[in-house]
Symmetry: C2
Subunit: 171 residues, 2 copies
Amino acid sequence: MNRIAYQGRSITVQVEPVELPNGRRVELDVVRHPGASAVVPFESDDVVLLIRQFRHCADGMIWEVPAGKLDGDTPEVCAKKELEEEAGRRAGRLERLGSVWTTPGFTDEVIHLFAAHDLSEVPPRPEDDEIIEVVPMPLSKALDMVWSGELRDAKSALALIHAARRSGRLG
Amino acid sequence: MNRIAYQGRSITVQVEPVELPNGRRVELDVVRHPGASAVVPFESDDVVLLIRQFRHCADGMIWEVPAGKLDGDTPEVCAKKELEEEAGRRAGRLERLGSVWTTPGFTDEVIHLFAAHDLSEVPPRPEDDEIIEVVPMPLSKALDMVWSGELRDAKSALALIHAARRSGRLG
C-alpha cells in the first residue's frame, strides 16, 4: 500500500510498492503533484512576455513564463488564472501546445503548455511569496536565450519552442 | 537552519528557511538533488538512439534519451557512463548542449544535456530496476515525436531539440 512519507506545505512524498514489468518488486519514492500549466503570453505576433522570478531552488532570479499548479482547475482555467495573476493579462484565445513530464524519475508532475493570444490588461495579483518581474521580449530574442542557456527553465523553454514552431518562427 | 524532512532511497526533502528578496521570511520544501546528465546518442548524422523506459511516475513506458544522476561524477563522466549502461555505446566525442532546471519550484535538480558522437558498441549494463529498450530512430522522426507529444519527457525533448539545432536539422 502507498504510504505518505512526508506531507509538506507544497509537496507530498509517497513511498509506493511497485511491481516492475520484469516482475521485480521495489519501493519507490514519488513526489505526488497535482500537475501545472505554463503559458507563453503573445503581446503581438513577435513579442512575448517573460517573467523574472525568484526561485530559492535556483538560488536567485531565473527566466520563466507564467505558470502554476492546477489546484483542482482544468489546465486551461489554470493557465488563464496564472496569466492574470503573474503577468496581468487576460487571454482572448488559448492555444494548447502539449504537455511534458518535468522529471519522471521521482515525480508525476505533468505541465500543460499553452500560448495565449488576444491579450487585454488586468491588474496582476502575485501571491505573497512570488517575486515576479514581467518583461516583454521579442520571440526571437527569447529563443536566443533558450539556445544560449540564459533561459534554462525546462517548461518555459519547451513552451517557447513549441509556440515558435506553431507560428512558423522556429529556426 | 535547513532541516531534513524526509530521507528516502532516492530523494531527500529539506525544509529550508528562506528570506525572499522583498524581506518576507518563509519556509520552503526543497527536493535536494545531486544533478543529472542526459545524452542524445548519434549512431550517424541522421539517426539517434532513443530509449523506452518503464517509469512508475508516468504509469508505464515512456520515450527518453539515456540519462542518470551524477553520483559524484562530473556531468561529462556521468553522461558517458549512462550512455554505456543504458544504450551500450561508448562515446568517441561528447558535445555539451547546455543545462536545464527540471522544475525549480520544488527541486534544485539541474540536468546537463549532451550529444554523443563517434559511438562504438559496449555491453549495456542496466541497473536491476531499469527496464529499458533501445530504439534507433531517425532524428527527424524523434523530433516529430516531440512535436506530436508522443515524446513528452522534458529533458529528452530539449536535448533532442538542442542537438538538432546544433547540427542544422531543426525545422
